[in-house]
């Protein structure tokens, strides 16, 4: 099997799996989930690291630098703000449990 076929199969499988996983999530969690999935899409960080290492012009390396900063913020701040949202959820839940 050629690499192209494998990549397309992985892409389709991931699409279907994502649909199945997300369908099981209650609407209460949709906002943090959207934020978390957005952080995951920062996986492009791996790609931009690889192509920055490949590029031999200064312009290319500078473009890579901008891309790495953007992708890192997407990943790190993405997971960070999701964590803050979810911690608030937990606080709310404990609050309710204490109140009962």
């Amino acid at each position: 099997m050629s690499m192209e076929i494998i990549l397309i199969v992985v892409f389709v499988a991931a699409t279907l799996l994502g649909y199945k996983l997300i369908n099981a999530v209650p609407s209460l969690l949709h906002t943090p989930l959207m934020s978390g999935m957005n952080a995951l899409s920062g996986i492009t960080l791996l790609g931009i690291i690889a192509v920055t290492a490949l590029s031999d012009s200064v312009a290319g390396k500078l473009a890579g630098l901008v891309g790495i900063i953007a992708a890192t913020i997407n990943v790190v701040a993405g997971f960070g703000v999701t964590d803050r949202m979810l911690r608030m959820f937990r606080g709310e839940q404990q609050h309710q449990e204490n109140g009962q």
């Binding site: 492009t44 192509v51 960070g80």
Partner: protein, 219 residues
Amino acid sequence: MSDTLYYIFSVLLSLGVLYGIRLMSKVKTAALGNRVSALCMLAAAAITLMRTDLSGSLPYIITGLAGGSLVSLLMTARAKMIQMPQIVGLLNGLGGLASLLAALLTVSSGAARSAFELTTSALALAVGALTFSGSLVAAGKLHGQLPQKPLVYLGHSALTVFAALVMVALIALLPLSAHGNSLLLSLLLILAGLIFGWLFAIRVGGADMPITCSIPLPV
């Protein structure tokens, strides 16, 4: 690191992320799930750094990672809950920017040679560009820096369709063109994508924005 080991790690980390998403489907385990995914992502970045020959670009890569992390820590600490929608919109846009730059470097460095690689790069350029401008408009509207009410230009629909057609034409053209023209075509594709994203998002009202934010997830 051998190729076999690399593929084993790739599969394990993918499964880790899937497990993290699964944990996110329950309120009790959601925070843990997010951390499991984040940890897998960190490991993936570490493995990529170990496996790639960084040589001449090392200062740029280190600066980018350190700078991005620093900004992230400040953003995470200072973010107010009420600002979350525009922050997620902004982060989504940055992901689009990273995708489009990764694709641009792939094309311009000549790393993409086959029709398959050039087509996927072209798609990443288009989706990255429209994600970047669309998400920034969305974040700007949510933050109140752009008008909250839908903005409709003269011939808005025709312009939007035209920008989309230009994108499709350039995506089809890029794999067929000689390498000498590919940088110019890529830049035109980015421009068309930026215009499309702007036109798409500017006519959406502030209250409907969270939906727009979730549509153009970058590739």
